[in-house]
Each structure stands twice: as C-alpha cells, then as structure tokens.
C-alpha cells in the first residue's frame, strides 16, 4: 500500500507554539484517514506534536529527525 501525503507543511524557522497551531489549522482541512506531513526546526515541536496527537486523537504516524530538521506525519482521525 502506498502512502499519499495530502498536505505538506514547511514549519522550519518557526518557534513554539506556531508549528502546532499551523498544523492544527491544516488538519481541519483533511478528511479522515488522510495524512499530513510537517517539517520543523524547533526542538520543542517534538514533545508538542506527540502531546497534540495524543490530546486530539489524531495518530502521530512518524516522528523522525535528519540534519536538525524534524519530520512528522499525522493521520486525521476517523470522525
């Protein structure tokens, strides 16, 4: 099964809490099951994305780091 990303957000250079707020706004536009990926450079975004996913029920499918850039994939929860 291939993974299709519905929306990609470039949040590099933004500091807390902007990455999570921009992500929350973008997630509103997705339909259940769709994926959103985000790239951020603020180290605080790692715990923030994890906590936001847990609090809102939208699963955090991936959270990785490469060369100082954090990469997240969130899945829109079923309605």
């Amino acid at each position: 099964m291939s993974i299709t990303i519905a929306t990609t957000l470039d949040l590099k250079g933004l500091s807390c809490p902007m990455p999570i707020i921009k992500t929350a706004k973008a997630m509103k536009t997705l339909v259940p099951g769709e994926l959103l990926e985000a790239f951020a450079t603020d180290p605080g975004s790692v715990p923030d994305f994890k906590a936001w996913a847990k609090a809102t029920g939208n699963p955090l499918v991936e959270s990785t780091q490469e060369g100082g850039v954090f990469h997240f994939i969130l899945k829109k929860k079923e309605a």
């Binding site: 933004l14 500091s15 807390c16 809490p17 902007m18 999570i20 707020i21 929350a24 706004k25 997630m27 509103k28 605080g44 923030d48 906590a51 936001w52 609090a55 809102t56």
Partner: protein, 378 residues
C-alpha cells in the same frame, strides 16, 4: 546638516528611541515622532484596569510630556512609507522625508477575525478593559472562560495573570464559590514558556482554575454561548474573555514592509529591516519570534537608538546588539508575583512567587512615567 530621523509610533519603544537618539546624536539628528493620538498609553495596566485595581486616568499621559524638548511630535496618522523615495505620507496630506526611519508601530487587535466573537470581552485595549470590568461588576455566578484566539499576542503570560487576578477579584466579592473559571490554552500547558508553566500550573489547580490544553479558539456561538476550538472541542460560557488575534499596523501592510500579517522582518540582533538599510523596526511591530512585550520594545529601542546615533555621527556601529533579552513580571494573585527572564542563548527562568516581585511590579507601574520613556533605565 542634521540627519532626519523619523519614528512612527509613540509607544514605549518609539518614545525611548526618540529621546535617546536626540541625546546621543549630539545635535546631528533632527528627531520626529509621528503618533496618531499623541497619547502615551501604559498597556501593562490594562490587566489591573479590567480587575478594578487601577483607574484608566493613571494609564495614559500626553506623549509631549515624555519627550525631550528637542524631539518633535507630529500628531497625525502615518498612511504610507515609500522606501525608495525615503518618505512617509501622513493622513493630513503632509509628507516627511527621512534619512533613518524607525517602525515602532506596535500591533492591533482583530477580534473581527474570529467568527461570532465580536461581543467577546478582552483586556487588550483601554476600552476593552473598561468594558470587561463593567461586565465583571455585573457578574453574579456562572462560568467565566478565558481563551486565546490567535498567536502571536502581546504579553504571553497575560491570560494566566488575568486568571489569577480574576480569582482574587471573585474571592473579594464573595462569589468565587458560585463561579467556575476556565483557562483555555493553545498548548498543553499554561502558556508558551515551559519552565514558568510548570511553576504556575500547581497554583492554577490550587485556586480551582481549570486549565484545558490544546484549545485554539476558532469560533464563538454568541447565542448558544459556546466557544469552539480548531481541535473541535466546545466549551460553554456565561462570560467570555478572549485574547484577540493580533496583526501589524495597516501602514506596514499598505507599504509592503511586512509579512502576510503585517509583521516587519528585521535582523534579530541589529533590528534593521531585512531589505532596507535605513529602516529599523522594534517592539510588537517585528516578526522576530520573541515575546511581544514592553520590555522587549524597551531593550530593542536602546539598541536601535545607539545604532542610529552612531550612523548620524559617522561612527562605527556599536558593539552591543539586541540579544533577545526579555524580562517580565507575572502576577500569581494573592499579593504575589514571579518574573520571567531569558534571551536568545539562555532559557527562561522564574523564581518562586513571592510578595517582593508583586511590590516590584507595583513600583515599576508607578515609576514608569519618570524612568522608562526617557530612557533612564538600561
């Protein structure tokens, strides 16, 4: 010939820059401040006005009283900056030419950007704070909700401070038992700064203030009296207080000097515009990801003033640049407060709430008029 230094905005930042450039340039600068009202407002006082602890009259003074005699005040609205022609057009039709321009235009609040929220209360303007206090005086029982409808906003800890001062107010009136106080935060903590959030969260719990995390206010239903978040949660209220969305001033947007929200991109150390070498921006007006607060405007103003004074005197730029310094007080209620201090290289630290910080803040509020605008404090 003296250099023309024009400053847009007579708030804390603009006033300090004006006074310091006039002093440090040693007669080689002609300094003009353009301000739409000519009234200097002490915005940190709005929290106290909204909770009945201060009078509106104590929070404003004529800007002319705070300026050196050699700083010219023009009471007019700046409509457009032309960076190629080095001019500022004013509402009256007058045009000012500049050699050095400082954008100290602050921010404006935009409650109209939140669907259904036009009647929500706020403590971000003098009129808003006065109206909120009237509503509190009429309040008898029910649920008071405090939420955040947009980031960035002025003074990140203000919603938490307001919650504590509100708790004091309701206790003093003897109606705290009949009132639920709910604080809705955009993050999973009291506010952006983690260390200080950890310090104040137990105090919120102790005072019975319910904290709901990840609640980014999206819309209000004023008939059903509910507020809904981007995260699809809904909370009911009897009295709603929102931090309104903020954006830069119209003149910034009209002149194409800012980003999509009207915040001015500047070098985070020199505060010079990223595109124009003769334009600086300070305080709320910039897009630097740092607190929008009076202390930031104050520290940045001293840096911008020294740079401009050095340029007009033909000297090398000063070694001291803005290091991201922020210092603020945070009232925790019941006569105590803490402080928050940090800069680009040092994470925020806050001491345990104590009476001395509350008194230090009270003293600062009173002595502000004789020290800060004149640039007498470092």
């Amino acid at each position: 010939m003296a250099a023309e230094v024009v400053i847009l905005g007579g708030g804390v930042g603009g006033t300090i820059v004006g006074n310091l450039v006039a002093k440090q340039a040693e007669g080689r600068a002609h300094v003009t401040i353009v301000d739409a009202t000519g009234i200097h407002v002490y915005q940190p006082g709005f929290l106290y006005l909204a909770t009945g602890l201060e009078r509106a009259a104590a929070l404003h003074r004529p800007e002319s009283q705070l300026l050196r005699h050699d700083v010219m005040l023009v009471v007019d609205r700046a409509m457009r900056v032309d960076p190629a022609a080095h001019t500022v057009s004013l509402e009256s039709g007058r045009q000012l030419r500049y050699d050095h321009l400082v954008l100290a235009t602050g921010s404006r609040t935009m409650m109209e950007e939140v669907p259904g929220a036009l009647d929500a209360h706020d403590f971000y303007t003098m009129a808003g704070a006065e109206r909120l206090f009237k509503a509190l005086e009429a309040f008898q029982h029910g649920t008071i909700v405090i939420g955040v409808a947009g980031i960035p906003y002025k003074c990140p800890p203000a919603p938490v401070e307001f919650a504590f001062l509100l708790d004091d107010y309701l206790r003093a009136r003897g109606i705290r038992d009949q009132t639920e106080v709910k604080l809705l935060s955009p993050l999973n903590r009291a506010f952006t700064i983690e260390a200080t959030s950890k310090l104040v969260q137990p105090i919120l719990a102790e005072r019975g203030i319910e904290l709901t995390g990840f609640f980014n206010v999206e819309s209000v239903d004023p008939v059903a009296k509910t507020v809904t978040s981007l995260e699809d949660e809904t909370v009911g209220y009897d009295l709603l207080i929102l931090v309104p969305p903020h954006r830069g001033q119209e003149v910034i947007e009209t002149s194409g000097l800012g980003d999509d929200r009207g915040w001015v991109p500047v070098d985070k150390n020199t505060l010079k515009h990223t595109k124009f070498a003769d334009i600086w921006a300070i305080g709320d007006a910039t897009s630097i990801p740092i607190s929008k607060s009076g202390s930031v405007a104050h520290y940045e103003a001293t840096v911008a003033a020294a740079e401009i004074a050095a340029e007009v005197k033909g000297e090398a730029p000063p070694a001291h640049v803005y290091d991201g310094r922020v210092m603020c007080f945070l009232e925790t209620g019941q006569g105590k407060a803490t402080t928050i201090r940090f800069d680009y290289d040092h994470p925020p630290v806050s001491p345990s709430p104590a009476r001395r910080w509350h008194w230090a803040k009270a003293l600062f509020n009173k002595t502000y008029w004789y020290t800060v605008p004149q640039g007498r404090l470092p």
